[in-house]
């Protein structure tokens, strides 16, 4: 295992900037997730690390060496593809042995290492099968074993779970994470699924339109989003459009005056997390903001309930409440009060 350094990486296709100046360091044994919507440049970045795409500018360093210009087969990276990319005409054992063969590992050693790799992913005894005789989850594990068998400097995961069904995905997430910790694998994963990213990563990198918007822990991204994009992408939030009149005062487009924390005068958006808002049948005098509203829509999600409250003709807010036995659960059309502390919201200037 080794550390990975990406410095000022750029990829241009004609006028289109797929990746604009991305820099990132991944420490030895760290699990970093690149998170962003499709087309944000995360996969392009990963493929530049693997060597499938040649960067327009910038550098990729793996351990002590500069690998920017090396072809994929000269870099010691282990990649797990979204489609698994197993070789259909080779058995499971031959698939796993492929990378070892390329490295000219002696035969006796090779068999042992194939066995080890299959045991790691709990597929001992499946060596003689063909990929098409395995379930999707098993194929995914073969792909992982194949990447691990070569003892890569860095493990690259390209949306490895997106072809699994929801239940299996949750199990495999934990499995990969445990394996990664146990083996101390330097890992970079790409995903657009924020839940997946949040459960697996040591550190997250939020990307959009080819640039890195924020790098940080789960808590950093959720509690202190760097900008409006991150606030909207990580977790759920309601944005109220309006203007900051003076520090601490915000007026929505619908004309509501709200207390906020900080802000510089000008057009802005106020981000409010649904679970940080209180809702009650009567006024909420203890809070910095207290507004009357009408319930427009309720979605019952089991453990929690989402309540959409109309505050003014232009302003609507989503409030999430835990579904407790004694909890308040209003009906559509009911008059309610919503409230929150000034510090619960975050203002993003435009």
């Amino acid at each position: 295992m080794a550390r990975l350094d990406i410095q000022n990486l750029v990829k241009r296709y004609g006028d289109f900037h797929a990746v604009k100046d991305v820099s990132l360091s991944v420490a030895d044994g760290e699990f970093v997730v690149l998170l962003g919507p499709s087309g944000c440049g995360k996969t392009t970045t990963l493929r530049m690390v693997a060597g499938f795409i040649e960067p327009t500018a910038g550098q990729v360093r793996l351990g002590d060496g500069d690998v920017t210009l090396l072809p994929p087969w000269r870099r010691n990276t282990g990649m797990v593809f979204q489609s698994y990319a197993l070789f259909p005409h080779l058995t499971v054992a031959q698939n796993v042995a492929f990378g070892l063969e390329m490295r000219k590992v002696p035969k006796a050693d090779m068999e042992k290492r194939v066995e080890e790799a299959l045991a790691l992913v709990r597929l001992s005894g499946y060596g003689a099968r063909l990929p098409r005789q395995l379930s999707g989850g098993q194929q995914q594990r073969v792909a992982l074993a194949r990447a691990l068998a070569i003892r890569p400097d860095v493990l690259l995961l390209d949306e490895p779970l997106s072809n699994l069904d929801a239940k299996l995905r949750q199990e495999v997430r934990v499995e990969i994470r445990e394996l990664q910790r146990q083996l101390g694998l330097t890992t970079v994963m790409v995903t657009h699924d924020q839940e997946e990213a949040l459960t697996m990563a040591d550190r997250l990198v939020v990307m959009n339109e080819g640039t890195v918007h924020q790098v940080g822990s789960q808590r950093d991204l959720y509690e202190r989003p760097a900008d409006r994009f991150v606030a909207g992408f990580v977790g759920r939030t309601t944005f109220l459009a309006g203007t900051v009149e003076s520090a601490g005062r915000f007026r929505t487009e619908g004309g509501l005056g709200l207390a906020v924390a900080g802000g510089t005068p000008g057009k802005a958006a106020l981000s409010l997390r649904p679970e940080r808002i209180e809702i009650a049948p009567a006024p909420l005098p203890g809070l910095d903001n207290d507004l009357p509203g009408t319930v427009e829509f309720v979605s019952y999600l089991g453990a929690q309930i989402d309540i959409h409250v109309r505050l003014s003709p232009a302003d609507r807010l989503v409030v999430q409440v835990a579904n407790r036995a004694d909890g308040f659960s209003p009906e559509v059309g009911q008059q309610v009060h919503v409230g929150w502390r000034a510090s619960a919201g975050q203002v993003f200037g435009e």
Binding site: P71, W73, F81, A85, H89, F98, G99
Partner: protein, 273 residues
Amino acid sequence: MNVAIIKRRAGRWALNGAAAVGLLYILTPLIFVTWLAFFYQEIPSFPPEGYSLRWFAAILDQPKFVNGFSLSFQVGVIATLIGLALAVPAALCITRFQFTFRAPLASLLLMPLIVPGVVLGTAMYVFHVTLENGLDVDVLGTFYALVAGHVVIVIPWIVRLVTASLSGVDRTTEEAAQNLGANAWVTFWRITLPAIRPGIVAGALFGFVTSFGNLEMSLFLVGPGRTTLPIVILQYLEWKIDPTIAAVSVVQILLICIAMLITDRYVRLARVV
């Protein structure tokens, strides 16, 4: 029984019926030729006077059939091998790379399928004459010139079928191989080639059959004492109409059937063609 089930059954019967008619239409000539080959009498007439294998024996008595068969076989095999060496890289090139003349090149490679054999033959004849005059070597009517001509009609089949199977190859398997340490060449041999093998085998088979049965173009390219089987058959038919030709055809049909059955054991033809 409710109406929906009756309707569905009627639909299935109609479909099977149409398929049967189509199949019969294709098979009728083959069935008649095969039947005719076993007639006893020299002038084919119905009903047959009796059955015999004498026409099959007659083939072996006439060296022109044996020689024609041998030449057609040699030309077919060599033209197919050369065709493979040219068409497989060409198919890779037009499916994998983007370049200015990609689309025209792809059409050009399939062109021999569209151009009538007579036109192709004439063009080659003129070309060979020019070449012979210009270079002062024997070209016209030589074995090599004949093979070269057949390579042209073999190429489109291989290009078509290999292109079709290349488009079904999961490109990420190639990337996975490279990621695991295989360079471009090893990746091609170990991953891509096995994946397109069905297309290659099927393309070679169709190419061979096309070459073996070609008449129009070959007419312009054969030389004295060097005649392919279809031409031998044509020449024979100018003078005689006894069932020898039917027997020759039956042998040909059998050989092609055997080739297809053998091929089918290695690659499922129904999946490629």
